[in-house]
């Protein structure tokens, strides 16, 4: 079937609900309204109010109730309406979902998926555009998955539903509908913890995830006209991430640029650059570059196009990496 990212996500939930009766979908407006982005459109009508249901407008309990459901053996898919609202859920995610398995010596698990759209350049109000993956990547016990295409959105979400660990699934809001592609019908999984090479190249490695994969591909295309060959690594799973694929690519190209729209300081770029210098230092021909949001809160809408890395920002850093 042909699908954009939000349709692929909806299809994944439909497949998950149909194949496993322990799967339930809960969140604000996910029922009759089908979610503010229509990700759950039609699911309540198809599977009933016991399987797909609205919760009170209270993010901490959407996740907290999910922990209780999971502890009792169900497999909840919780929707948080916008990624910025994950701040409110951090206690339930970090102090509860992430630690239930350890606390019970493995007797219980919080196998659950917490879905949230993230990211800027969509002219949303305050706190609707934040990219909070670094907070979550700093929380061992929770996996963080960020798809970039209709194909991996569906396959990763189905893998996340089957995973026994809690998974935060951050969906690239900006490209929800921008990208249409053929995806397989029915059930398939894209393995968690594995990166993919989105574009092969020789001169420099671009490491990205989520919506910035598409931006990195755009930059790579532009740079190829200048004779620069970029390899684009799409992490897919941001935590725990596939260091081996990143390192193998950097060992091949000798240069790396990490791209994300989250805040720069202590972001994934810092983590990835540190691992590259620890483990591939002697392959490096130039310092690792970072293309990121600023060390500021996500800005007012009038400045967001400057804050969120575009192809021009990425190309600038690639040229810097190639100067040395």
């Amino acid at each position: 079937m042909k699908a954009n990212i939000v349709e692929a996500i909806q299809d994944a939930m439909r497949v998950a609900l149909a194949r496993d009766k322990e799967v339930v979908v809960l969140g604000e407006d996910v029922g009759r309204n089908g979610g503010v982005f229509r990700a759950t459109d039609g699911l309540q009508a198809e599977f009933g109010e016991d399987r797909v249901f609205d919760t009170p407008l209270a993010e901490s309990s959407i996740v907290g109730v999910g922990v209780g459901l999971a502890a009792y053996g169900m497999h909840p898919i919780c929707e948080i309406q916008f990624g910025g609202f994950l701040y409110i859920t951090m206690n339930q995610i970090a102090s509860q979902a992430a630690r239930l398995r350890m606390r019970t010596g493995g007797q219980m698990r919080a196998g659950m998926v917490i879905r949230a759209p993230y990211g800027g350049n969509v002219r949303t109000p305050d706190l609707h555009s934040d990219s909070l993956e670094a907070l979550l990547a700093h929380t061992p016990g929770v996996k963080v998955v960020m798809p970039s295409t209709p194909y991996n959105a569906k396959g990763l979400l189905l893998a996340a539903v089957d995973d026994p660990d809690p998974v935060v699934f951050l969906e690239p809001m900006r490209i929800y509908r921008g990208l249409r592609a053929e995806i397989p019908d029915g059930h398939y999984e894209v393995a968690l913890g594995e990166a993919r090479i989105a574009r092969e190249g020789q001169d420099v490695t671009l490491v990205a995830y989520g919506a910035e994969v598409q931006t990195s591909l755009e930059a790579a295309e532009q740079l190829s006209a200048e004779g620069i060959s970029c390899e684009v690594v799409d992490l897919q799973t941001v935590s725990p991430y596939d260091r081996e694929t990143v390192l193998a690519s950097v060992e091949k190209t000798g240069r790396a640029v990490v791209v994300h729209e989250a805040v720069r300081q202590a972001g994934m770029g810092a983590e990835i650059a540190a691992v590259i210098q620890e483990q591939a230092f002697y392959s490096l021909a130039a310092p690792v570059q970072r293309v990121t949001g600023w060390n500021t809160p996500f800005p007012f809408v009038q400045a967001e196009h400057l804050y969120v890395p575009g192809a021009a920002h990425i190309a600038q850093s690639v040229r810097r990496a190639l100067q040395d």
Binding site: V24, D50, F53, T55, P56, A58, S60, S61, V63, G64, V65, G66, V67, G68, L69, A70, A71, Y72, G73, M74, P76, N91, Q92, S95, Q96, L100, R101, M102, R103, T104, G105, G106, Q107, M108, R109, G111, P140, G141, D163, P164, D165, L192, G193, E194, T237, P240, Y241, D242, R243, E244
Partner: protein, 365 residues
Amino acid sequence: MPESFLRPPKAEFPLVRLVGEDGTRLGHSPTEPDAETQTQLFRWMVFGRVFDQRMISLQRQGRIGTIGTIRGQEASAAGLALAMRRTDWLVGSYRELLAYVAHGVAIENVLNLYRGGVPGPFPEGVGAMPVQIVIGTQLPHAAGAALAAKLRGSDDVVVGCCGDGATSEGDFHEGLNFAGAHKVPAVFFVQNNGWAISVPRGRQTASETIAEKAWGYGMPGVLVDGNDALAVYAVAKEAIDRARAGEGPALIEALTYRVGPHTTSDDPRRYRSDDEVAQHEKDDPIVRLRLLMEKEGAYEEGMQERFEEEARAAMSLAIERAEAVANVTPETIFDLTWAAPTPSVLRDRQRTLEDLKEIGEVGKE
């Protein structure tokens, strides 16, 4: 025109009591404990007193870490636990340790936890989530587990417990609000022991009772004398039976008093007077139940001493078993973090172990 449009926050929640402080019978209830259950209540309350003393002395000897005290709250814990079925879920905190053990969790589970280790699997068939340390966070879990029980067609009831301090947390509101809105088979049980470390109940909330907060969630509430084991059992049983019958959640406030410090690290003299404590100590729930049983001919000579002896023996055996095992290794920590580790996680684990080995911290003969 009325003098004011505003309505006062007034609600009548009379204190439910079946037994007076001097052991006088004040009333009966269709859900009160039968004679055998009364004896079991007494037995578990005596156990709780011995448990508390023993845990504090283990902490003083450096054999366990900081522990919360439960002295004075035995009737609340035992009354609740005995009103539950073994498969019902107990979702509580460190102030409910007696309830956990009376519900069927092993003493060793608790000892392992306070020895700084993995609590170990709870005994088969006992419904319980782990002892919660983060205040109030367990209440949405209780709502969720209750929803799961309902969706799966089980008739288990989930009991979410917390203290008066936790009722100020957002998760108290969110958990009860969800439970009411989705009419799940849950009972919320608040042990109001008067103090959240040093902050008195009056500084937590302006509402006259905690029980009346139930109104805001569309569920029935009850204020019960938490030092009256019979009354606690009776109200808990009614609320649990009602939830099991599909009639939705309820909120119980058990009014009790924390006679001991918050934990072994706390010095309550900094914030409350010895007089206040002495006043409350006079109302010992164990004495109250014993006086009632004596008056009603249910107390057998030497019963308390026998139960104390039995409790000491059970504690000694559990301590001996728990201390024979050190169940945490670095591998444990990595392996319990992820159920499905990725290759990067396994490399991290290996590297950490190798580093520790190199400096002689693991793999020592």
